[in-house]
Symmetry: C2
């Protein structure tokens, strides 16, 4: 595809061609073969259809569903929907074995300080959300052609700075919230400033790890010739969960002397 001679080649990728219509408001484009001979035309409604299909595929992958845009939801059978969803659920469920093993290996620390468990959902939830924000942004950026693969270092540098800002803001609010709500209001004697500090530092490091993993995995997937969207939130979440738990228990055993 040569952008100056406004035509598309017979071997051009259909998504790239469709984006041309989106960007330059063409209504139709000539299609030429390798020797520059006109072999047909492609119109804007073809482009609209290609973009719609592509978008539905991205949405499906982000929702951990095997894409199937053939029929509308209400006409799909229960068995068909089951088959589109169960492989991902099984895969992600089994991959959670690792987080389970991490927790088991820190069982002594947990038994000594059960209050640590109560912050696990918050840490993993915030890590998951932070990672999703970065991955959705990057997946869309790649898909729209706004982020070239060679700019991976710019993306990492930007996400690092954003994640430090987000991480510090969340850690500060979280530190205050634990002391005031969980400690004072709920009168939980197990809540000490040191526990609040362990949780807040873990939170900061989790947010940074989540955003760096979230932005780099889709780019790496794309580089390897895979669709960046398969690296959407569920996979990133599993990885971030594992990192977050290791940081949490390592800090807890070191700082709380468990």
């Amino acid at each position: 595809m040569e952008e100056n001679v406004v035509s598309v080649g017979t071997h051009d990728e259909r998504e790239a061609v469709a984006r041309l219509f989106d960007r330059y408001n063409f209504l139709a484009l000539p299609v030429v073969d390798g020797d520059g001979r006109l072999v047909g035309i492609i119109t804007v409604d073809d482009a609209l259809e290609v973009l719609s299909e592509e978008v539905e595929e991205d949405f499906a992958k982000m929702g951990a569903i095997t894409p199937n845009s053939e029929r509308p939801y209400l006409r799909q059978s229960v068995g068909e929907i089951f088959r589109m969803r169960i492989p991902w659920l099984l895969l992600l469920m089994l991959s959670a074995t690792f987080t389970g093993l991490i927790i088991t290996s820190f069982e002594a620390a947990l038994a000594a300080s059960v209050v640590l468990t109560s912050f696990i959902p918050m840490l993993m939830g915030t890590g998951g959300n932070s990672g999703s924000q970065a991955s959705v942004t990057v997946i869309r950026g790649l898909s729209l052609g706004e982020i070239p693969y060679r700019r991976i270092l710019s993306v990492l540098w930007k996400e690092l700075r954003v994640s430090l800002l987000c991480g510090v803001a969340l850690a500060v609010v979280n530190f205050g919230k634990i002391l005031l709500i969980d400690g004072l209001l709920m009168q939980n004697p197990a809540i000490t400033p040191l526990v609040a500090l362990v949780v807040s530092v873990t939170l900061l490091l989790t947010v940074v790890a989540a955003k760096l993993i979230g932005c780099s995995l889709p780019i790496l997937a794309g580089r390897l010739g895979l669709d960046p969207a398969v690296m959407a939130s569920p996979f990133i979440t599993t990885l971030v969960d594992a990192v977050s738990l290791v940081v949490y228990f390592t800090l807890a055993t070191a700082m709380l002397g468990l």
Copy 2:
């Protein structure tokens, strides 16, 4: 908008008009005022632009980001990206206070059986993924006009059956996996068939709850005049986490006699 007289009205919603182009392959449509007088035309490239913007908004909301499609990612400043992301992270982090309180209130059970903690990430992860699958499907269905709001009962009935199939399949695999890998292979004496049963039944109920919550919240949001996409995975995950933990500890205290 009257579908027989092929024209659109000045007050028609722009998304609905854009969908007309997608569905019927028009290249242009006349725009008429309340009295049927021609006031202008709208072309397919306007439609393409509206659909692109709408899709980007949906992606952003699903990724828990305030939509801002003005500038490409690499041109946005760090402060700007921070401001788009931090409100959602703060809100979702603080909402995890509830899951923390649930765990704290079952502290005695957890202290008696620390092994229960090791399954929390798997339960919450699978619940989150199950809920996302349902919510992404329904949000796209609503957005594409494939699911009318009045069909909420059909959606619930379909998701109930899908969730039972998924839940039973996952619970069976999980039961075997806990006994074989966590019990036999890792030689953890705390793993008993009864523990595996508690975890697996919780998993089944979590998947059912996640899919029903995941499909109904976007429809309810839409009914209330909100954008269904704001009810995407992060909010649903927080709610599903809470349901899952209550079921888990209630079953554990009852069946394990903690």
